[in-house]
Every structure is written in C-alpha cells, then in structure tokens.
Subunit: 328 residues, 2 copies
Amino acid sequence: MADSKRITMKDVAREAGVALGTVSKVVNGVPVGKSYQRRVEEAIERLGYRVNRQARALRSNKSSIVEVILPDLHNPLFARLADCLCRELSRRSHQMLLFLTKGSFDLEQSYMLMSEQQMVSGIICLTLNPKVRIPGDIPTVFIDRNPGPGIACVTSDNYGGGCLAAQKLLENGCTRLAFLHTASSLHDETGKRRDGFVCACTDAGIPFRCECLDDGAPDSALEEFLRAHQSEGRLDFDGLFCATDHLAHSARRALNQMGMRVPEDVQIIGYDGAQRLGDQDLCCSTIVQPVEEMARLCVELVLQTSSERIPCLHQLPVCYAYGGTTNR
Amino acid sequence: MADSKRITMKDVAREAGVALGTVSKVVNGVPVGKSYQRRVEEAIERLGYRVNRQARALRSNKSSIVEVILPDLHNPLFARLADCLCRELSRRSHQMLLFLTKGSFDLEQSYMLMSEQQMVSGIICLTLNPKVRIPGDIPTVFIDRNPGPGIACVTSDNYGGGCLAAQKLLENGCTRLAFLHTASSLHDETGKRRDGFVCACTDAGIPFRCECLDDGAPDSALEEFLRAHQSEGRLDFDGLFCATDHLAHSARRALNQMGMRVPEDVQIIGYDGAQRLGDQDLCCSTIVQPVEEMARLCVELVLQTSSERIPCLHQLPVCYAYGGTTNR
C-alpha cells in the first residue's frame, strides 16, 4: 500500500505512453478509445496505481460524489430520472450516491443531513416535506419544489402542462372536465398543474371539478369518486385530467371495471410521460416531462461553482403525447 | 470546523438525553421514533456535531458505501432491483453508490476498478462482460453471473424457471413451443432458462424450437422470425417462452400487428415479473424473480466479514404468475 501510494497519474501516463488527460479519463470512467482504455488499465495494474478519492476528498474538502434523494424507483418517472442523473453525473466524472425515502419526511431529513458527513459535493433532491432543513454549505438543487430565493429548483412547466391537458381534452370533443390528484401528487410546484387546468377551463367557459383523493387508499377513494359521479351508466364528466400517469392508469382500470370504455365514454390525460417497459409505449395520453433535460440541468446547476450559480426557478417545456386514452 | 471535530457522538447523546445507540441510528439514517429523531437532530445542531465519514473511511480503510453496478434503470427489473438494494443497504446503515453501464463492457470494467479508489466496502454487480476483472480485496457479489469459486453469485432458479414456463404452456393446452432470446438476455446463469425449457419439452416429447434474435435490432429480427413461422394466417407454434418480459411484451405487440390474437392464437410467457407501473399489473404471464429476496441476500453476502463468507451460487426459487398472455 505504502509503495502504490507514491505512484502518480503521471507515472501511469508515461508507462502507458498516453497523455495525462487520457489516464484521468479512464480513472474517472469517461469513455476513451478501446486501445487507450486497455493500455491505461494495463499500466495501472503493472504499477499498482490507485487514486484514493477519500484522501483527495479530505484534502480538498470536496468529493466527486453527488447525493441524489428520490422517493422510490417503482415509479417509472423516478426510475428514469435516476437513470438520467446517474449517466449525466458519470459524464462529468461524478458518482451518484442514491437515497430513497418512500416519501417519509423523517428519512428525507436524515438523508439531507447525511450529506455533510459524506462530504458530498452537492445534493439533488425530490422531497415532499415542505419544511426539510437544507445543509447550509452544500450546493443543493430541488426538483418540483421551490424553497425560495437562494436555492435552485428544476421542474417542468406545470402550469402550462395543466392548461395543455384541458385544451387537448376540449380539442378532442370533451365538454365537461374533471381533475384528480392526491395530496402527495400535488406538492409545491406541481400544484400549478391544477392552476393551469382551472385557468384553461375558466377561459373556455366550460364546467369542471377538482377532486383530491385520500393518499392512504387512493384506489378505493378513486372508485368512490367515480361511482359518486356516475348515474344511469354515464359519468357527469367526459374528460379527465390526472395529476400523474400512475393515477391515470388507476383511473382507466377502475373505469373499465365499472364497464365504462376509455376513450369512447371518457377520455383521460395523465402527467409524466412515464413509459411502460423501457423505451416502449406510454401507459396513457399524457403531458410529457422532459426528464433528460431536467436531469442535465440539475447536474449542471449542482456542479457550478458558487460564483457562477444563479439560484432560481427553472421551468422546462412540456409537450402532449397521444397514448390511447384520448381520441387522438 | 476544528471545534466541531472535537464533539463526539457521546456529547450528542448526553445533550439529547438519549442512548448512544439512538444517536448512531439517527446519524446513519436508521429510523427511530419521531421525538427521538427530533431531539437528536436538535442536539446535533446545537453542538455543531459532524461525523466525517471520509476521515473515518480513511482511518478504517473501509467506508459505509457499497458500489452497485447495473445496466440501466429503464428496465423495470433493474429499477426494482436498485430500489430493493438501496433500501436494504440503508436498513443496514450503508449507502449505495450507483453506476449504470448500458451493457458497455468498458464501462463495466472502469466502474469495477473505481471501487478501489472510492474505498467502498463492497460491490454488487450485474455485468455482461464475461471477462470483467474483479478488484481482489473488495467483497463482490455478482447477480446472474457465476464467476466461479471464491465469488458469490445470486440469481433466480433459471433452470427451474425455464422448466416451469414450458410446463405452464403445456398445461394451458399448447402443443408446439418456441423459445426466444437475444444474446444479452441470455448470459451466464440466465442461459439455464433455455436449458430448463429444452429439458421440459424433451421430457414431454413435444416439438420445440429455440431462436436467438439479433441484439442490435431485436424488433425487426422479431418480426422476421414471426413472419418466417407464419403461413396462411397461422404460426407453426402455439406457445412462446421469452427470456425476458421485455421481449415477451415486444412479441405480443408484433403478433397483434400481424393480426394474431394473444392468448387465443398464441400464448406467451415471459421471465422477470416486472410490473408496469409501480405495484400495478404485470405486462405478461411470467416467471417471477424474487427480486426483494435477491437484493436482501446480495446485501447480506457483501457485508459479511470474510470469515463468515461462503462464496457460492445462490439460486432463489421462482413462481409463475398469470398476466393475460396465457389462458390462465
């Protein structure tokens, strides 16, 4: 160990006959040509070279690790977000330390404070606790939550997305609309989905209703809501906007079980653009969040030096995608 | 900083009026009662206490970080695996440093070697490169790949799963079977899915065929395969076992586009048990991998001290689940 610590990246570059930058790339997991990769790896092995990132972090008081806090990876949106964040961090020679909270306020807080112990170089988080305490000296980027001046927030254009959902339902011939969400599906910035929807309905002068389902038992609350609005085999609305694709998927299933046809009897639009199986089809017609761009911006913001950083609300544009639950 | 470094966990415990173990739990993100959580957090804040894990790692030559290497999080199976691994590591006061390779042999190798630099306490990996070099002194657990004696491998009972798929198709009335895979869907241990399928077909004395689709263009290879086996609107097999749910999903879609009905004209069974949207329905009838148990075992094995560790092949039992692409 003592010997190998004296070997530097320069020694490896000399041994491999490549530029210092090439060694740095290989060591940091940045792709290089295959033959370079092999030469550097062989030189590293011959010399017994090791970068000790922990020692480096201790010296510089900064590591190449970024902490990412998400609710879970069951939700395809979060899985895709984690996937894009991980790749984007790798591309910039950083690594992702992932924490999952299942929406627990206490875990969100614990994980947030743990960042100081790991000396991470930044935090990217999607938390639900409106009062989560932020470690003062670590660059932090929030997703879908705007803690106010001094902290960056990346989100999709929730207000525009809400408007767009209402407009698309109207364009598809709907005349009475409804909006469904749960408390946890609408927090902070995502609450603007409802605001945009309400505004578009009001502007168009068409009747609408908004309903918040119980978070604890969304499926039975959903069925209760639908039954309350059904009479003589028909619903008293013909267009439904759901705060998430997950909710839209549940609504479609519940409606089918009640003998209603989607989109013939009622059209549904979700929000997220979550895909069912990898790069395959959407689970519903939906407002698509630009997840890749959101991840790229989060990483860019979190790695900026403090002098470059302009903390503010970044709202990225959304688009509509047909996914079988509307006429088109 | 200098001051805060002298504050110990004992000081925090005294200040908060709780046991030392409670402070340790909070600091390590292990859930404790809400009032304890708050008392400890407040004491930490009042005293300005910080655990410096990097320094601790440097002293002990071991960190609380475990490196996890997976192909991606698009595939619901990998997302669920990452989700379970992350939670299980948290439960044992460890953190997950996640790397995604998209199946690149070079990235697999780079990330594997990076573990030495981060001084991680272990590696859990699902890699495709059969020749990936393993860092000698870091406990490593492979998923679905058995590098041989001395290294632990956790996988599902692929052979039993292959048998079960054939048996279920026969029970459902199929008389001529086919098996589909791509090169990357069958590597190392997962190749036993085919072996089990072949054995069950041979034992039952029924005709079958196995086909490997081109990894580069699986969708067009799939369509070509299906057209080659179709004549007068019928396929020359009526039961199809696919190496993954992803492939089963693609096959169902391609068959529908050709005007064939699933399960009326051909029944399909996949492998994985990946769920479409979180805890909701399966995308096909399938052989379900016990992902949660696999994750638990991986973490248990990787955190065992070397004296306890018995590296060997662990094959966890699978089960069949109906998901709409078979009669039952």
